[in-house]
């Protein structure tokens, strides 16, 4: 997460062209050791504007001595015999040379299982999670997932089934090589060509005795990718090369064996040879390279690359704006205009309070001529009780506040919800809020966060939920195997789990909620090694427990709250960002890892630092986000940003959440959804737990609170939803019997004012001239037929069914 962007070249504008720039080839010289070594060259030229472009595929690679080394058209260099030579690289009129030396061609170094053989299995997919790498193996042959456990794999290959997979007398005929080359039937088909470099490496390993590496064999230190950062045009191509560095100081080109993946499949794709192709989208993508359990990323920026009218960022001293508009400048994407006041009033009200603004609020805001009206509005919204209701719903969902045991658990879940709501209303600093939950102990009656542990019961759930919810780290994978995209091992997992190992449970005063206490000293056990794992925060040193009476969760909480914690603040900042901008800086919002970097790392760092400096003040965080010029952009695209989905050049509309939608319909119609067991007029947002059956909430995607993932809440449209909105007796009943229509009729209002009120309560704005005339015509026709009530009902129905009603836009 810590990486920052390399300085960006501003694409439009500054021009540094001094005739044709020379080409640059990476690496500048090559040393190939052994007959199976190889290397990828990458040729970079500069175009007229001075931007770097990959011309590898448009260059030629000629060897001065093909008996030493040869190059193919893609820039891949292979050895042919010991000696030294030069590869002559030509791109258009430019020529440059790379020295190549080849050693030990006939006498290659010993093949090492972990360094040389395992990566082949990973690359061709043998040990993937859908084949032999899954926990049950495939057709009796099991490998560790992506080769994280060499000793296990060696045992499987060499000793299992009485060694029938290896045939030392004729290595090429070993089952291990017969299967992937499909020379005997193989469920996975042909994955390897006979006599390819990979084939030869495996065969040589068998010939050399098929041994497992000695403990002092060179170990992988890290991998590197070139280029680390590059601006690539839309529909362009960029190659990358990956190199591995070993503990003996050697560096090896592993482009052919590494795996590549983009975190933004809508922006680009990368093939198994490290060739990135960008599409039509604009923004930043991270290309992950993975090799032997190590990962790294290259960042690829794709600018719009069109000439656009000149634009200046809106004036602002807001932290968010400093970054958002800078990025848009770099990408050459002009942002949308600011939205109109009524839209902002509606948007900010829904995002903070979960309800539409009153018509009076909107008018007052529109008429306010002061310069600080936006920040005063946000401040006012944050002081409303609805703010606390709305964010309590959000936290209750991911904190999985459930009625586990039906009505008996109501006392606990109501109390926990009440505690969450109160914490938010009182603006308890976020670090204290989280500490109270994670280190909760005692009775639920006096300390409601204990209820969290009622739903999050097992050691694994506690580990997974804490990491994902409060740190944005998904540890689940490392429960059973090395995390495939991350550094986390099972030791990390069970070390983290040990913080929760000593939670004791005894019957509490509330029969449904146990009382929590600290058990005597014990540690979680890593099932892979059978060894106890001392408590260890993520990516930090083990915590040496000195006082056996102390609950290790206190140490965990202290580590989380430390301002230097690399995850804690960023995780919540990113979650809150997504609530306002519709898309996290990291997406999914709770999957933060080096291989899934933020779309703007500088912005996330700055926001997190500001949040920490504020004393983990959640209202301050919301204020910073919601008063930015960026949050105020209209959702209407301009000619250049229609396809922008990730750079916040415009507001991205989103459908109201299930609860907010139901409450919105109630407010528009003047009715109240009855829920059993809570006072009338409670509203869906204020429901304390999940125990309120509602067909409406279910079909509109209310989360079941089964998982810690925010993604459990669904916004996908469905047929049941539309049938319900346009044709259900329950919505019709709200329209027909709610107070809205009745009050409009009773007041003897003229048609224009009826239309005006309906628009203002439903859509938080007055009607346009066209809309007004459509509505007036409808009312007039029906009024003359004596069907005024019907006419008003129809208008109300129509407005509720407008997309504008259903969306925050």
């Amino acid at each position: 997460m810590r990486q920052t962007l390399a300085p960006l070249i501003v694409l439009s504008g500054i021009l540094a062209s001094t005739g044709s720039a020379a080409i640059v080839v990476e690496p500048a010289r090559l040393e190939l050791v052994g007959c199976d070594a190889h290397a990828q060259l990458i040729v970079t030229a500069k175009d007229e504007s001075g931007a770097e472009i990959d011309v590898t595929d448009r260059s030629s690679f000629r060897s001065n001595d093909p008996r030493v080394a040869v190059g193919d058209t893609s820039g891949r260099i292979e050895p042919r015999g010991d000696g030294s030579t030069q590869i002559v690289i030509r791109y258009q009129k430019e020529i440059t040379r790379v020295n190549v030396s080849v050693r030990r061609f006939v006498d290659p170094p010993r093949v090492l299982f972990t360094r040389d053989v395992e990566p082949i299995f990973t690359k061709i997919g043998c040990n993937s999670g859908v084949c032999h790498g899954k926990a049950s193996g495939q057709n009796g042959f099991r490998l560790s997932l992506l080769g994280y456990d060499s000793a296990f794999d060696h045992e499987s290959i060499v000793h299992e089934t009485r060694g029938r997979r290896i045939f030392p007398a004729a290595p090429e005929r070993s089952l291990l090589l017969m299967k992937p080359t499909a020379r005997v039937p193989h469920g996975g088909g042909r994955r390897l060509e006979v006599d390819s470099a990979e084939f030869r490496v495996i065969a040589r390993w068998i010939r050399q005795g098929a041994v497992l590496d000695r403990a002092d064999s060179p170990a992988l230190v890290n991998i590197d990718i070139y280029p680390k950062y590059r601006i690539v045009s839309r529909n362009g191509v960029q190659r990358v090369r990956a190199t591995a560095r070993y503990s003996d100081g050697t560096t090896v080109d592993v482009t052919r064996l590494a795996q590549f993946q983009s975190n933004a499949p809508d922006l680009d794709e990368v093939d198994d040879r490290g060739t990135i192709k960008t599409f039509d989208g604009v923004g930043f993508a991270a290309i992950m390279a993975r090799f032997g359990g190590a990962t790294t990323v290259a960042r690829i920026g794709v600018p719009l690359g069109e000439s656009t009218p000149d634009w200046t960022p809106p004036e602002s001293d807001n932290l968010v704006d400093r970054y958002v508009f800078k990025r848009l400048k770099e990408l050459g994407v002009p942002p949308s205009e600011a939205c109109v006041d009524a839209e902002f009033a509606r948007r900010s009200s829904f995002d903070i309070k979960g309800v539409a603004p009153s018509p009076e609020e909107v008018v007052a805001y529109e008429n306010d001529r002061s310069l600080d009206k936006r920040s005063r509005r946000i401040d006012a919204l944050l002081e409303t009780p609805e703010y606390a209701d709305h964010f309590a719903l959000f936290w209750s969902s991911i904190l999985r506040n459930k009625r586990t045991l039906g009505i008996a658990s109501e006392e606990g879940s109501f109390a926990f919800h009440g505690w969450i709501r109160q914490s938010i209303a009182a603006n308890v600093p976020y670090d204290r809020f989280v500490a109270s939950i994670v280190a909760a102990r005692g009775e639920a009656a006096s300390n409601p966060p204990v209820v969290w542990y009622r739903q999050v019961r097992t050691l694994e759930e506690q580990t997974d939920d804490t990491a994902q919810l409060f740190l944005g780290v998904r540890m689940q994978c490392a429960r059973c195997h090395h995390h495939p995209f991350e550094k986390w091992t099972q030791d990390d997992y069970y070390g983290f789990a040990s913080f929760f190992q000593r939670i004791g449970r005894k019957p509490g005063e509330d029969p449904a909620t146990p009382c929590l206490y600290t058990e005597p000293f014990s540690l979680a056990t890593n099932p892979a090694t059978g060894r106890p794992a001392p408590p260890k925060p993520l990516g930090a040193a083990e915590i040496k427990e000195t006082d056996p009476r102390r609950d290790p969760r206190d140490a965990l909480v202290a580590w989380m709250r430390d301002p230097s914690n690399p995850y804690f603040a960023k995780s919540v900042v990113n979650r809150y960002w997504k609530r306002f901008f519709g898309r996290g800086l990291v997406e999914p919002e709770d999957d933060m890892r080096d291989t899934n970097p933020p779309s703007d790392p500088d912005l996330l760092n700055a926001l997190a630092a500001d949040f920490i400096a504020s004393g983990y003040d959640l209202k301050h965080l919301i204020r910073t986000i919601a008063t930015s010029e960026a949050y105020r952009r209209s959702s209407l695209p301009n000619a250049y940003n229609k396809r922008d989905r990730r750079n916040y050049s415009r507001f991205y509309p989103r459908r109201l959440a299930a609860e907010a939608l139901l409450d919105a319909i109630d407010r528009a119609t003047g009715s109240a959804e009855p829920f059993r067991g809570v006072p009338p007029n409670t509203g869906a947002i204020r429901l304390p737990d999940d125990g309120f059956a509602s067909y409406f909430l279910e079909i509109f995607g209310r989360p079941k609170r089964e998982s810690v993932c925010e993604c459990e809440r669904s916004f996908e449209p469905s047929l049941s939803q539309t049938l319900h909105l346009l044709n259900s007796p329950s919505v019709q009943k709200k329209i027909a019997t709610g107070s809205r229509v009745g009050s409009l009729l009773a007041a003897g209002r003229d048609d224009a004012s009826i239309v005006d009120e309906l628009y203002r309560v439903c859509l938080s704005r007055g009607p346009t001239a066209r809309e007004r005339s459509v509505c007036l015509k409808h009312l007039a026709e029906k009024r003359s037929a004596g069907k005024l009530r019907e006419a008003i009902e129809d208008l109300l129905w129509s407005l509720i069914n407008c997309k504008e009603f259903l969306f925050i836009y």
Binding site: V130, Q259, R645, D794
Partner: protein, 440 residues
């Protein structure tokens, strides 16, 4: 709700998934619903997409006794054989329980798989396995941890026709028929009421006081007022809702779509042939829906948890299934639909081979039977067998996943297609089992 693929981490069967790389990934990587709608037709289907294929799954909740239904053991000792005789069928050498005389006459149109087994004996876990192809990750699960077979079909295949939903559950919502991480849009469309009397679609009939004419009025008004610029939303959400609004109108107003749900449009004789029972009428409705374009229907027929008094209980329950099933199979055949529509009949497990002291049988995942008919599969054959007392498969042991793989085969769904579950883990449509080769 999220699907994504890394085309590079290959699949076991060597099928390239490159074509899925850019599909889906709502939320995770910025592709959106509009893309999803555009690409859904391509994603997740094998080269040999079988257009028009559909599945009717009859789920015998509770777990019927295999010995008393489709795997009789007439020469076993009484305490295993149970109360019923075996009868011959129109396929020489194949016998079924005497409780299924009608099916016996139609056995040439179906195949029986007798060697199914799995390892979990509680209803929830067993149902989860049978409905999804995956064992439940924990005991006492109440809801889907994995998407049901029907949800997968809804997501990857969608519906075939206009108006009717792609995935319907009858007579109402069975357990473990839901979509889990695919999102509630792929839960089954359910009906309310009693199929023998007033089975109806929720929100299909106009609300009290609203005539179709008035709804039409409203629709015109909405059309004029719902004018927010769709270009504001590039995620496909507005477009998606628009699409479902159109579908909903069609369903409400188009007599053809409505008629698909209207059992009273069937001749009384046909309805009686299926039986005026919940399972009978549900099977008939399933046929109507499939004809109108639904891809997957699950008919839940509960009450097979016969811990006591099997002689009495089975005599009540089996004939209803016999009528429904034989009527459905012969009806599909008469209408020329048997190549296109696969019927699968099974429960969550078999029952103990030895009859218990209450003349019932208890949960037994060691052996169970399933009936498969149509879908272009071979019929009139028996796959696998259990031992002389019906305890375990002795020949061709198969699991629920093999039956589901067979359904996916018929539906043209690539089992290697991957979704990202709620924890961010890539998860295949089905990672075990294989289509049953004897039937293909």
């Amino acid at each position: 709700m999220i699907e994504v693929l890394s085309g590079r981490y290959g699949t076991c069967d060597g099928v390239s998934r490159r074509s899925f790389v850019r599909v889906g990934c709502l939320g995770i990587a910025g592709l959106n619903l509009a893309d999803l709608f555009r690409t859904r037709a391509r994603a997740g289907q094998t080269k040999s997409t079988r257009d028009g294929s559909a599945v009717i799954q009859i789920f015998l909740g509770g777990g019927p006794s295999h010995i008393d239904t489709f795997d009789p053991k007439p020469s076993a000792p009484t305490e295993f054989r149970g109360a019923f005789r075996a009868i011959g069928t129109d396929v020489p050498g194949v016998i079924v329980s005497e409780l299924f005389p009608r099916l016996a006459k139609n056995l040439d149109k179906v195949s029986i798989v007798r060697s199914l087994r799995h390892t979990t004996a509680d209803h929830g876990s067993g149902s989860h396995w049978v409905m999804t192809g995956y064992p439940a990750p924990q005991a006492l699960l109440r809801t889907n941890a994995r998407p049901s077979t029907g949800s997968i079909a809804a997501k990857l295949r969608g519906g075939l026709g206009s108006g009717v939903p792609p995935y319907v559950a009858l007579p109402n919502d069975p357990s473990f028929a839901n979509a889990a991480y695919l999102g509630p849009a792929y839960n089954p469309f359910t009906l309310t009421g009693d199929p023998t009397k007033t089975l109806r679609v929720r929100d299909l009939d106009p609300a009290p006081g609203i005539t179709l004419e008035r709804l039409d009025d409203r629709r015109r008004l909405l059309h004029e007022l719902d004018s927010i610029d769709r270009s504001r939303d590039d995620s496909g959400m507005m477009e998606g809702l628009d699409e479902f609004y159109a579908q909903a109108y069609q369903l409400i107003t188009d007599p053809k779509a409505r008629r698909a749900f209207d059992l009273s449009a069937e001749p009384a004789k046909v309805r009686e042939r299926y039986g005026m029972t919940s399972v009978g009428q549900s099977c008939l409705l399933a046929r109507r829906l499939i004809e109108a374009g639904t891809t997957f229907v699950t008919v839940a027929d509960g009450g097979w948890d016969h811990h006591d008094n099997i002689p009495k209980r089975c005599r009540i329950q089996a004939p209803m299934l016999d009528s429904a099933l034989s009527a459905l199979v012969s009806d599909l055949s008469d209408r020329g639909l048997s190549n296109r529509v696969l019927v699968v009949v099974w429960g969550e497990f078999g029952r103990t081979p030895r009859v218990n002291r209450s003349a019932g049988r208890d949960h037994w995942p060691g052996a169970m039977s399933a009936i498969l008919a149509g879908g272009g599969l071979k019929t009139g054959i028996v796959v696998g067998s259990t031992g002389s007392k019906g305890e375990f498969p002795v020949e061709r042991p198969l699991g629920p996943e093999d039956v589901i793989q067979t359904m996916y085969h018929v539906l043209g769904i690539d089992p290697n297609h991957e979704f990202i579950d709620d924890s961010g883990r890539p998860t295949r449509v089905l990672n075990q089992g294989a289509p049953i080769p004897e039937l293909i």
